[in-house]
């Protein structure tokens, strides 16, 4: 062992001599800081990437994960709940469907010592809209008309239309993280090393694409006090490397995104535990109503009748996902398994009847599109399994076609596929986020579906602040979607983490919100 070390040191000397002359300037990063407080530090490993630590410059889960730790939002989604609760705000409520008022907690400060007042909140939202960064989430704030601050503790949002979803928008890290108006410029993003917030953690060090180091904030006031004094986030390029790191104990928590095969493999491991919670990420197939077959409702319904979602979940994803029977996943208020209600158990004879009634000759030739470069390697397995099911029914003759992600987006809008695969990750925890972007006048994927009743119902639920009314409207919408079949839901993912022995609180945070609440987690190992 001694000789190995001596060799290593000697080797280091040779190597360093070669390298030292080529070194760059002093970056000033790092710091040799010592973690304050008790509790063992722990490492979260992930394959997510971070676009920006400035909330105005990002709209991706990797950035949001860090922003949730560093910043406060007015409201937050507590673990295991769908209902926002106060974070920077003591309370928020709708004065009427277009006026949303929040009262801040007293004595809030940013980690740099600056006070957090209603003026910072107003600045935050106006800044996000003003910058409208191409990578940002300002699109979520489209309903903000103006913001008023009657006093230091009160902020009022005037909305340009009735929008009940705004209470969820303010919980979103990229749309609602409050920044310091004395530090952040009004018209430009701040560099990652200058990012500062008032959240339960402070960013001690951040290296783009490599790692982040978070320390517990002593100035945080709110319901999210951190249980750990220091947390590291390690970024991995490949799921396989993350899996090995989890097995080797190099990371104590591996969260997003291990392949189904890796998860299955780790479930049998003695060194780690695989924990699963309810998820909210969905996959679905979209009908392009601009094609000859896509416009035929009988064809769409027949496919909805034949598809065996359980087989897709098992064969394409090793049972690591759950079958999805509505475009809104289970757990959301107002969710109903509408496709199961309408079509029941998959039945070839029922499907044949539908096609006959619609005057459609069989076998129906269908082109099924998928992309292997955006939704992971199992997307191919999923498309292949659906083709197998449809072909096996004898009613369809499916041709699979694939394209790289960026090209795929053009092709599905240009009617290259009758049916194509897409995925969705919610912006906020409300059923509206699974309905409004999809079914109002063709949705973002432009599939030529338009139904005035759907448009009216979406406007109705967005304008209502009565839970019962909204839930009933959601149910009606899901029912119409199941009957019109502009999409065929396929599966909903689970929120899965791989944890080392001794880690506490991970299970708590694995819910459909997909917020990794590091403040709830501690390393007791």
């Amino acid at each position: 062992m001694v000789s190995r070390r001596l060799l290593a040191v000697a080797g280091a000397g040779v190597l360093a001599a070669s390298l030292a002359a080529c070194g760059g300037g002093d970056s000033g990063s790092g710091g040799g800081g010592d973690a304050a407080g008790g509790g063992a530090p722990w490492v979260l490993g992930t394959t997510d990437t971070v676009t920006s630590l400035d909330p105005a410059g990002s709209y991706d889960l990797g950035s949001s994960t860090l922003q949730y730790q560093m910043y406060q939002q007015l409201l937050t989604i507590p673990a295991g709940s769908n209902t926002p609760e106060g974070d920077a705000a003591e309370s928020c409520s709708y004065d009427d469907p277009t006026t949303f008022t929040c009262k801040l907690r007293p004595g809030l400060t940013f980690s740099n010592g600056n006070e957090l007042t209603s003026s910072d909140v107003k600045f935050t939202f106006e800044r996000n809209l003003n910058i409208a960064d191409p990578n940002g989430a300002s699109v979520l704030l489209a309903s903000v008309d103006s913001i008023e601050t009657p006093d230091d503790q009160t902020v009022t949002f005037n909305l340009n239309k009735p929008d009940t979803t705004f209470q969820f928008v303010v919980t979103h890290a990229s749309a609602g993280s409050i920044v310091d108006e004395e530090t952040y410029p009004a018209d430009a993003l701040v560099a990652n090393e200058e990012a500062v917030g008032s959240g339960p953690f402070v960013m001690a060090e951040y290296q783009d694409g490599n790692q982040a180091s978070l320390e517990k904030s002593e100035s945080y006031k709110g319901p999210r006090e951190a249980k750990s004094s220091q947390v590291f986030v390690k970024y991995y390029k490949e799921p396989s490397a993350l899996k090995l790191a989890a097995e080797n104990g190099e990371v104590q928590v591996a969260w997003r995104s291990l392949s189904p095969t890796d998860i299955k493999d780790l479930q049998g491991s003695d060194s780690v535990e695989v924990i699963e919670g309810a998820g909210s990420e969905i996959r679905y197939f979209v009908w392009q109503l601009g094609t000859n077959m896509g416009k035929e409702k009988a064809v769409r319904q027949a496919v909805a009748e034949v598809i065996d979602r359980e087989a897709i979940a098992q064969r394409a994803y090793d049972g690591t996902v759950d079958p999805l029977y509505s475009i809104v996943p289970p757990g959301f208020p107002g969710q109903v398994d509408a496709f199961q209600d309408v079509y029941g158990q998959n039945s070839v004879s029922e499907a044949r009847g539908m096609l006959q009634q619609g005057g459609i000759q069989t076998p129906v030739n269908l082109t099924l599109g998928y992309t292997p470069s955006h939704y992971g390697p199992n997307a191919v397995d999923e498309a292949t399994e659906l083709k197998r099911q449809l072909d096996a029914s004898g009613l369809f003759n499916v041709t699979l076609k694939s394209a790289e992600w960026t090209q795929y987006q053009d092709l599905y809008k240009q009617n290259a596929y009758d049916l194509f695969q897409l995925g969705w990750f919610p912006d906020f925890l409300d059923a509206d986020n699974y309905l409004a972007p999809f079914f109002v006048d063709g949705g973002f994927y432009e599939n030529n579906y338009s139904n005035q009743q759907v448009n009216q119902l979406v406007a109705k639920e967005q304008g209502s602040n009565k839970d019962a009314t909204r839930e009933k409207t959601f149910q009606q919408l899901q029912q119409i979607v199941a009957e019109d079949v502009p999409v065929v839901p396929s599966w909903v993912g689970k929120n899965t983490a791989v944890v080392a022995p001794g880690m506490q609180g991970v299970e708590e945070t694995l819910d459909p919100a997909f917020i990794f609440r590091m403040w709830t987690v501690s390393n007791e190992g």
């Binding site: 280091a12 783009d208 104990g249």
Partner: protein, 342 residues
Amino acid sequence: MASRSGSLPRYIVQRVLLIIPMVWILLTMVFLLMRVAPGDPVSASVGGRLTEAAMDERRASLGLDRPLLTQYFEYLGGILRLDLGQTISDNRPIIDIVKENGGATLTLTVAALLIALVVGIPAGLIAGRFRDTTGDVGIRMFGILTYAAPVFFTGILVQLLVAEYGGDWPTSSASSPITEFTVQSRTNILLVDAMLMGDWSAVLEVLQYLLLPALTLGLLICGIFIRLTRVNVLQTLQGDYVEAARARGIKESKVVRSHAFRNALVPVVTVIGLQVALLLSGAVLTEKTFNWPGIGSELIDYIELRDYAAVQGIITVFALVVILISLLIDIINALIDPRVRY
């Protein structure tokens, strides 16, 4: 008498001037290839979430709706001002990527080169000295295999083997998060920074992390050194001066060591420089496989994001490194062997 065209200064000036069209052609190719590929930074990042109109707005705010020629000249202008710009996908100055991630790539490539030399040259010498023996056949097969095996395949294989049988030996990254946090960054080269701090446990740890990726990349290159050294040893062993040495009664071991081996290594030295391009391309895949925080793995991420600015900037840096090293090798060659100037 040497002609004017054969003078060393003139040769160097010619070679330096050739860099300009080389770089220009390369930059133009990179610019065009990125635009020819389907998609753009907006559709790569937020496609499948926003309507086409919303995405067009984002394209316009990035200036991607402007004529291609305008974008091209703006890009060339930036390069002329030595301004590589900033990435589209995460607003990061490209020069920062080079500074922050370049150290890791440099560490990996230098370590890989050392491994390739340490393994490849002795193996080549032995193979050449003991031609057609079992050892020679074995070494030749090893050389062919390491050169032919794709670097990502070797990398994954090494990772899996070490994960299974290597105990706690790390299989990815450049160090543990705690070491990266505690080692103060001065040169952006973690190993050097750890040494400057006098933190020898960190140095050992960084070397531990370095071993697998450096070995993987080093094996790729060492096949070339094995074959080249072997061939040169075979040639020198048949040289007149070697025969003359033998005829003078010098011991065979000394003939081989002092005459054959030494002369066989001269061409190897010039080939080392030519391996830089292969090292850098191998580093891209090695970094990705081993989660090594170098420029190469960043390049792959930015290609996936269709981040024109980042890809153009990083490839420009890679190209300049290769071109400058080639220039250096050419000059050294011209100094050693005047025939190349004519």
